[in-house]
Symmetry: C2
Subunit: 336 residues, 2 copies
Amino acid sequence: MLVKELGEFGLIEKLRKLVGRSPGSVVRGIGDDCAVLESNSKEYLLFTTDALVQGIHFDLRYFPFYFVGWKGMVANISDVAAMGGTPQGAIITLGLPGNAKVEQVEDIYRGAKAASKSYDCPIIGGDIVKSPNRLFLSLALVGKVKKRDLKLRSGAKPGDILAVTGDLGGSEAGMRLLRRRKKIGLKELNTLSRKAPYSSHLRPRARLEESKALIDNFAISSMIDLSDGLASDIHRIKEESGVGAEIFETSLPIAASTRKAAEKLGLSPLKLALFGGEDYELLFTIPQRELKKIQNKRLDFPVSIIGKILPEKMGILLVDASYRRNQLAPKGYAHF
Amino acid sequence: MLVKELGEFGLIEKLRKLVGRSPGSVVRGIGDDCAVLESNSKEYLLFTTDALVQGIHFDLRYFPFYFVGWKGMVANISDVAAMGGTPQGAIITLGLPGNAKVEQVEDIYRGAKAASKSYDCPIIGGDIVKSPNRLFLSLALVGKVKKRDLKLRSGAKPGDILAVTGDLGGSEAGMRLLRRRKKIGLKELNTLSRKAPYSSHLRPRARLEESKALIDNFAISSMIDLSDGLASDIHRIKEESGVGAEIFETSLPIAASTRKAAEKLGLSPLKLALFGGEDYELLFTIPQRELKKIQNKRLDFPVSIIGKILPEKMGILLVDASYRRNQLAPKGYAHF
């Protein structure tokens, strides 16, 4: 059977069974944003990896090397943020085709270093291998988290409130706007990278500070970062927590710039918000009793209540403006 | 400038400068087999990564998926062994082309799991991404090492003895024998994988136990695992320790099976031993005063004294049977 027939979710489930149970020093193996290991009496070790492949995750016609490095770092730091942790160090593996230029590799590293400085996550190692056709970047990160701060995908309970930071669909909108154009000059891309929704795609942020503020202020029961898209990632909370959920269409936070892009592109803003990947916002759940607190608390960033956790048998439901409920499939920025 | 013009050593040096100095919590950044971070009062955290790319590191005509998984794990565990540490967990990133089959991915995982069991290093996470043309495997590993056991590439001093475990050139010899043939059946490959020198290429071992025994018994001043080949890897000790070395041609350990393969292949056994990669033996240095001890100590594995550390200005010298000294270039299993 081909991997693309089975799908990513199915394949991961198969591999998880094959790998089997982890020993006691492994607090959390396959199935979360990071693996979690025992470290010392107060902290756990976090360990994650994420890869970007040319032609799949980025298109060099409108995605300069600098941003490849930046985004690779941010995607991994975002995984650490989703667990409630702090990054400690990154290792960068580069797969380079025969015609790769030194300047291109330096640009990747410059972008990675900028993210490294922004998020206080030193680059502490690297590996360079030859890749026959396409450039790829595989990053691995270690971090730490106070034991009491650890957040998993698996703690959501029926009745919990479903919430998300920031806004959704910006990265997908930015990418589609860029894709419509032919080659764009580096100077213009640099300018665009500071303007929504392009910024969401080219220069995404990791929600490290948001994660800390949420954990400091609320009893978070589960958390995940939105890398594949809401429709897909909510299913990971479903799988790991053994719950269902309802998501209120009208509550999804969509920025004005994303709505404007959607209009330009002839796309539904709702679809961008549900199925667009790489927003790196935090999707999390809190117990019902925390609802008032989160509604009244002044935070430095927007938080939207977008739904509710349900018993597992209800599945993942999308509730429209007329209160009609439809099953939401785990589609999204599908890898296969 | 093209990366292949500058070379891997030159590129890494450039990137190291670009990355700059690491903060205090980083005991060792770029430039060793693993990065080293503070963990707790007694131990350091080790962190490493290694990638295998189809068509570069393995050829599917004679290198089955099972061994891809095995070798990926061993290459990383070997890096931990070279630092004197113990592996704690591995994350596997797979880049899969569109025609990848579920059974192939399962075979990679079966091989990785076998190594995981052999070396007590659980697989604790994974990532699957699409890769346009070729399959690649990027592994990241964390491990730990007692602070007093940490071995670096940087501790060698002029006058130290240069030694190596096991024997050299087997993996290159095995690969070249396999490469001469057309497609080989899976059953035959399984049989060959238990027979030297094929075993060195298909089913290499990580020298974890050897590393422990060496550290327990001798004052090791520097250590590295031989992944790119002796001629190349001795230059890494040179760079990091700021020393030169002389290597005695006639002292290099070469197995009878490798000599036989060399004859069959019309190659010099010496060249296989100097330039062949992926033997994963440990190359290490000890102070002169330990020489007697290592010569008399009964260990469960062979150790050969192959040379001596010299002042840096001498460079790396190869000494032949007539005591002629020639500079040894950092050639080897060159990535570029």
